[in-house]
């Protein structure tokens, strides 16, 4: 499965003359007159399209100081330029003389050569990463044929580091593409059941897949997931993905609300369609497991996906209801739109009980509060284990999934005191630090296991296309988890 990802091929030859070619260069003097005439300086973010000797259609992108992220941006910016004017040449858009040929945008690029022969493996793959992620295509359902994303031919020097770096990148890209595709799918197509069914495909890559339906969840005592999913005609699922390895696993726990109406505490209509992305945490966890499997990671890792649809209905869960969670704790419901922490509570408890985790990392589009706090540029990072949190933050910074540490203070814990149950689900009233309250709530269910919680509301989708991808799903978290696993969980000696 490509999940909308452009096909990539590694080649050890020169790009064919005449083919549309992408060239990334660090800041410096322009390599030829054509580039100089176009004002190309190599500054990060710059991309120009021109004609040069031997290359009638050349896109040059600047990589500034030449850091890994700069190369990636160069690839992304160049791709963005090509997608904006797929049939343009240096002389401008091709004249459309024939009616049959149709307008320019109907004739997409089939192949793009990435001229990476001047670059070492890491930089070369960074350019390719940028181009591939920008070239990713969401699942489009229109009448008529949908053009495929262009193929990317990576022309590199012969170097033994190239093939392993390429394989590693491909694994990561496919994980991100899976996550993005899942996030982009509408809620009538991606129900909890169908999400689970898609997870079964991962078995082909060596992932062990287990799916728990309603009766299994009842037997396990997963009262919180069952409550959230109760009113929907699409019953909930708990999916466990195992990538076996030595030692206790790192467990990625994902919130997977395939659609969130808010339930009885229903959301305003305006913008509700975005709630199809309320399963982005589960998508990221699944994408990360796919990546680890594809690159045959020596880490032991699992994902626990809590999948449910939050609907109002005749038999819906209500504010005021007391829920018996899988952990044994009782929770007083205040707001049925704070459903993410409920399904995560059971998923975390299940992970602690069944998987003996070395560490837990949960991802969830959890609160509007975190968007008010950190906006769309960083996810909120909470947890109970400073070394793990430092590793998560560092991993995120490296790959561009930026996070920011947030507190769980005494007041946040106190806000969860209930008069009639072990915990209140959230506080009521205006101006609540709900992201912190949610994290304080979840901390109980980690039961002291090293745990990190990423509130990814606000970063799971982008409003407008930029160099990192088209508008919509970002796949946030997959690369972070991949980098975290590589840095901390692949050397058994580091597990303490």
């Amino acid at each position: 499965m490509r999940y909308g990802l452009p096909r990539l091929r590694l080649r050890f030859d020169a790009p064919k003359p005449g083919r549309t070619t992408l060239l990334a260069l660090a800041a410096g003097p322009a390599p030829h007159e054509a580039a100089a005439a176009a004002g190309f300086t190599g500054a990060s973010g710059q991309a120009v399209r021109l004609s040069a000797p031997g290359f009638p259609d050349l896109v040059m992108a600047g990589a500034g100081a030449g850091e890994a992220r700069d190369w990636e941006r160069a690839g992304g910016e160049a791709m963005a330029l090509l997608l904006a004017e797929p049939a343009a040449t240096a002389a401008g858009p091709r004249p459309t003389t024939s009616l049959r040929a149709g307008p320019a945008e109907m004739r997409p690029l089939r192949r793009i050569a990435l001229d990476l022969r001047g670059l070492p493996a890491e930089a070369a793959m960074a350019v390719a990463t940028g181009a591939a992620l920008r070239g990713w295509q969401p699942p489009i359902r229109r009448r008529g044929a949908t053009p495929r994303p262009p193929r990317l031919m990576l022309h590199v020097i012969e170097d033994e580091a190239m093939a392993p770096a390429f394989a590693r990148m491909e694994a990561m890209l496919r994980g991100v593409a899976l996550a993005r595709t899942l996030v982009a799918e509408p809620a009538n197509i991606l129900t909890p059941k169908r999400f689970a069914a898609r997870m079964r495909h991962l078995a082909r890559c060596g992932v062990q897949v287990e799916v728990f339906g309603r009766s299994a969840l009842e037997a396990a005592g997963a009262g919180a997931i069952l409550a959230v999913g109760r009113a929907s005609a699409n019953p909930p699922r708990l999916v466990v993905l195992r990538w076996p390895g030595e030692g206790d696993p790192v467990v990625f726990v994902g919130k997977g609300i395939t659609f969130d109406t808010g339930g009885i505490s229903i959301k305003p209509a305006l913008g509700m369609e975005d709630m199809r992305a309320d399963m982005a945490g589960a998508a990221a966890a699944a994408g990360a497991i796919l990546t680890l499997a594809l690159r045959n990671s020596p880490a032991s890792a699992c994902a626990v996906l809590a999948l449910a649809e939050n609907m109002p209905g005749a038999d819906a869960w209500r504010p005021g209801d007391i829920i018996h969670t899988l952990s044994g704790r009782t929770v007083e419901t205040i707001d049925t739109d704070a459903e993410g922490r409920m399904v995560l509570a059971d998923a975390l408890a299940w992970a602690v009980r069944e998987l003996e985790p070395a560490a837990l990392v949960d991802l969830a589009t959890l609160t509007g509060s975190i968007v008010t706090a950190l906006g769309h540029h960083r996810a909120g990072l909470f947890g109970n284990d400073p070394p793990l949190l430092a590793m998560v933050a560092a991993a995120g910074e490296t790959v561009g999934d930026a996070v920011w540490p947030m507190p769980i203070a005494k007041e946040h814990e106190e806000a969860l005191k209930s008069d009639i149950a072990d915990l209140r689900q959230c506080a009521s009233g205006k101006l609540q630090p709900d992201a912190c309250h949610a994290a304080a709530f979840l901390r109980h269910f980690a039961e002291g296991v090293p745990w990190a919680h990423l509130d990814i509301a606000g970063v799971e989708s982008r409003e407008e296309a930029n160099w990192q991808g088209p508008a919509g799903a970002t796949g946030f978290g997959v690369r972070l988890l991949d980098a975290l696993a590589a840095a901390r969980f692949e050397d058994p000696d580091r597990l303490t």
């Binding site: 968007v371 008010t372 706090a373 950190l374 540029h377 947030m406 992201a435």
Partner: protein, 495 residues
């Protein structure tokens, strides 16, 4: 007097013949000193009381024994926790915690004779911080509803040492009280002009106070601040308070800048009516700076400090600023007004520019009840810290931890700065809901010169408290006075 608080006296250890006796007791130790004397005088009533109540001396534990004998009205047993873990902060908290238990007694003696005199002084600080009360506007309160304890005696074995330790602490407490009083005052009383007048009182402490009115500010080109003020019948002021306590001349001063919106209706972008009365404390940043100057001058801090406050009232009057207006700040940068309720940053823009131009500070810290977003982000325990300087941020975080005025660092960055790009001016005054307190900080940062270490404290969640804590009664907290006094004491004073 507009406020009341208990007077502190340090006395030699001797058993009282009446009133309340407070026995601060560590965990798991035998009664010694005054406690042992009291036990003997009451025929073992205290030992029996400890046994009967299960009092163990655990930190924060409090038990009252009434009429134990020997004329003593009540004994308050106060747990101090493990004796070798007792910090000055714990002593202060214990001092605050004892107040509610003895406020209704006419005479109070705290048996701090087993503690070092410095800790006895810190305990006294806790007592006054918690015992402070703003009752200027209570005219019909019944006597039995008022606290009776006007004086709290602290028994210590080292009276001179305790008094010496108390002197600077008392000055800081006075600064806290001034700040709390300003924040508590209603907005019809505390207008910008009235607040500026009250700043003048600092001249008694040796502070040089300069007040600038609308004409002065117009000359300086304070278009941003004046734009906020123009909808109100109350004229704006800027107050510059200089304390030159450094021994050496010619050093760079430290600057503290406070937002002082004496009432914030929101202006034309008016706020909802529910809860608007809280907006009297929208001058808490300025209130903190004034209190801080009083604290530093009162304890004769060996440092040069300039405190600046921008005082305005934000009203929807006939001349009020409108959304869509473009104003020119003193720095020359133009600002498109999108929301007249994002006024604090406009006031700060001009005052910060003036502070840097006039004083070339070593570093600059501004405080402002700036955004609701910071409450949604962090709640009421931590104020938001934004800074362009990691070293300054670390110092502030550390000072926050020891003073209990906690901070949490929040991010800045180019991506957030883009949110305040304007189509018509250099910037707009709001960047939307996402990252609302970050974009406010980005706005302020545009008025900070490159190379000037700067920190911005968003204190919207911490300036006012709806419940009592050990040393802060509910209401105005004076958040920031102790924090900034501490950072100056730790890093900026001449040795």
């Amino acid at each position: 007097m507009s406020d009341t608080k208990p007077e502190i006296a340090f006395v030699k250890p001797a058993l009282p013949r009446a009133g309340a006796l407070v026995l601060p007791l560590p965990e798991g130790t035998a009664l010694v000193g005054l406690a042992a004397e009291a036990d003997a005088a009451t025929g073992g009533a205290i030992t029996r009381g400890i046994e009967a109540s299960g009092f163990s001396g655990r930190k924060g534990q409090a038990t009252t024994l009434f009429a134990p004998g020997a004329g003593i009205g009540r004994v308050l047993l106060l747990g101090l926790g493990k004796p070798d873990e007792l910090t000055p902060e714990d002593a202060e908290s214990a001092g605050g915690a004892l107040w509610p238990g003895v406020a209704s007694a006419t005479e109070v003696l705290v048996a701090a004779d087993t503690l070092p005199p410095a800790l006895a002084a810190r305990m006294a600080l806790g007592v006054v911080l918690r015992g402070w009360r703003f009752d200027k506007y209570r005219t019909t309160e019944k006597p039995e509803e008022k606290p009776k304890a006007e004086k709290v005696a602290i028994a210590t074995s080292g009276v001179p040492a305790a008094k010496a330790a108390w002197k600077p602490l008392k000055a800081v407490a006075e600064g806290v009280f001034l700040s709390r009083e300003l924040v508590s005052e209603p907005p019809n009383v505390l207008t910008p002009a009235e607040m500026a007048d009250r700043c003048k009182a600092l001249t008694r402490l040796g502070v040089d106070v300069e007040i600038l009115g609308p004409k002065d500010m117009k000359k300086l080109g304070f278009g941003a601040l004046l734009g906020v003020a123009q909808g109100s019948a109350c004229e704006p002021r800027m107050v510059v308070m200089r304390w030159n306590g450094a021994r050496k001349k010619g050093g760079q001063p430290v600057c503290f800048v406070g937002k002082g919106v004496t009432f914030d209706t929101g202006g034309i972008s008016i706020k909802p009516a529910a809860g608007m009365e809280d907006m009297k404390w929208d001058m808490a940043g300025a209130g903190c700076v004034v209190g801080l100057m009083a604290a530093l001058a009162g304890r004769e801090a060996k440092v040069d400090v300039v405190g600046l406050v921008g005082l305005v009232e934000n009203m929807p009057g006939s001349k009020a600023q409108r959304p869509g207006d473009v104003v020119t700040s003193a720095s020359g940068q133009t600002i498109e007004i999108i929301n007249t309720d994002a006024e604090g940053r406009l006031v700060l823009a001009d005052v910060l520019w003036y502070a840097q131009k006039q004083f070339a500070p070593k570093y600059i810290v501004d405080l402002a009840t700036l955004t609701g977003a910071i409450i949604v982000a962090l709640g009421h325990e931590h104020a938001g810290l934004f800074s362009n300087d990691d070293a300054l941020a670390q110092k502030l975080l550390a000072a926050g931890t020891v003073t209990g005025e906690s901070l949490w660092r929040m991010p800045l960055g180019e991506a957030y700065d883009k949110q305040i790009k304007s189509d018509i001016a250099d910037m707009k005054n709001v960047g939307g809901r996402p990252g609302g307190s970050i974009t406010a900080a980005q706005f302020i940062q545009r008025f900070i010169d490159d190379g000037t270490p700067w920190a911005h404290l968003d204190i919207a969640g911490t300036a006012w408290s709806t419940k009592d804590t050990a040393t802060v009664p509910k209401g105005a907290t004076a958040y920031g006075v102790r924090l900034l006094d501490r950072i100056v004491a730790d890093h900026d004073e001449d040795a």
